[in-house]
Amino acid sequence: MLKSLFTSEISLGLAQAGIASLLALAVVFLARRRNIHLEKDASIALLRGIVQIVAVGSVLAMLLKAPRWSSVFLLTGMVLAAGSISAKRAKNIPGAAKVSTYSIAVGAGLVTAIMTWAGVIDTAITSLIPVGSMIIANAMNTNGLALNRFRSEVLAHTGEIETALALGATPQATIGRYAESSIHSSLIPAIDNLRSLGIVWIPGLMTGMLLSGAKPMYAAIYQFVVIAMILASSGLTSLLSTTMIQGHAFSPADQLLLKGTE
């Protein structure tokens, strides 16, 4: 229906974005009737989302003509932003932003670098940026889930942790099981994505490849490659951030810093 109303692609895209946003706002309205107030968060997120993605689209349009190495700067910028956003899931943990940024940089960066070196990801900006951003975004989500779960586990088990400390245990011994649980939980979405691949969902990248004329079999296999890369980078990110954040949860005198109010 919309296609008959709009002649330019940009107008059509904006109209489509408007309808998708209206649907999201309708859900927010439904939630409000049940006293779940998402109005502010959802409105800001929708507005930020459209502005950010249009900005990225504009940058990509410009970068099509830029040298290949310039994608490194864009990916670095994405990692810094991802670290900052993800750290907000770890309130009251000192150093969470640094840990998040470092973990995402190593997790996503290492996997992207290896796969680019192996020729799996093309070095063309139009390939490296979309695939790299997918890897970074998923590493960010996993990192946020891991830190959030770690924080919840520690807050829920403060008594047990401090009891073990009071008996002379090391911080690592008191908190190890909660860190393991955080890593496991944070990877559930990435593992489920692999499990359900092709059965429950056909991801956007494969759809895009099919639409642009790629052979279905290659598009399918490449999609698996991307999801497997996401699992690898998310796993590495989660392992790193959970390991590093344990050190930040305690003082040099082995005192638990991550606690509720005194």
Binding site: G159, T163, L167, G168
Partner: protein, 232 residues
């Protein structure tokens, strides 16, 4: 494990000008106290008076913002935290036993230093707290009083010189409460442990403590013998 669990201690604990403040709130303010081997010192006060917070400063679970604690004359900051906490044991209001059997809980502390308690040492310690034959029992099936006695035995397994007790009987029935009180009196007397007991129960302080510090809003408002501070 070397030594025995009933080794006699002669240590004492001294705190000078201890304070702890968090943004917008003073929790403990300039409290000094001293407790000697074989003595039970009571920290008495209403809820929120800073009793438990003060206790946590004594084994450095929290860091004082001013003042310090001396164990046998040595500044606690000079003692590695894990060693300090082995020497200053703690029993909390809720026992927070680790999942598994009673023996596993008792062996936890020594295992942190790479020591292994023998079955005989576990049995002897359990006998001491009135739980003979409980070594293989799962902690999840124990009563509240039994759990608290396991918690006490778990602290004693570390062979501490000082024992901090944070409202150890407040969640227990009268019978269990009496048993724990008897045990605390026994370990202080027989093992020469210096005990610091936090309680809101003045009668309990009268029954157990040699001396008392009365706390109000983080301040030590009165200290002396139990009779002087709490009356008869």
């Amino acid at each position: 494990m070397t030594g025995t669990v009933s080794q006699i201690s002669t240590s004492n604990l001294r705190a000078e000008g201890l304070s702890r403040a968090v943004p917008g709130k003073v929790i403990v303010s300039d409290v000094s106290l001293e407790v000697s081997a074989g003595e039970v010192l009571g920290i008495v006060g209403a809820s929120g008076s800073g009793k438990s917070s003060l206790l946590r400063l004594l084994n450095r679970l929290d860091e004082p913002t001013a003042g310090t604690v001396y164990l046998d004359g040595t500044d606690c900051r000079q003692i590695p935290p894990r060693e300090l906490r082995r020497r200053i044991g703690m029993v909390t209001q809720r026992p927070f036993l680790f999942p598994g059997d009673v023996a596993l809980n008792l062996r936890f502390g020594p295992a942190q230093r790479g020591e292994t308690m023998t079955d005989a040492e576990v049995s002897k310690l359990l006998e001491q707290v009135g739980l003979a034959g409980f070594a293989a029992n799962e902690v999840s099936v124990l009563s509240g009083g039994e759990q608290q006695r396991v918690s006490l035995a778990r602290s004693l397994a570390n062979r501490p010189e000082v024992l901090l007790l944070d409202e150890p009987t407040s969640a227990l029935d009268e019978q269990s409460k009496s048993e724990i009180e008897r045990l605390v009196g026994t370990v202080a007397h027989d093992q020469g442990l210096a005990c610091v007991l936090v309680t809101h129960d003045r009668d309990q302080a009268r029954r157990l403590c040699h001396r008392v510090v009365l706390l109000d809003a983080g301040l030590a408002v009165k200290s002396g013998t139990t009779l002087e501070v709490l009356g008869a």
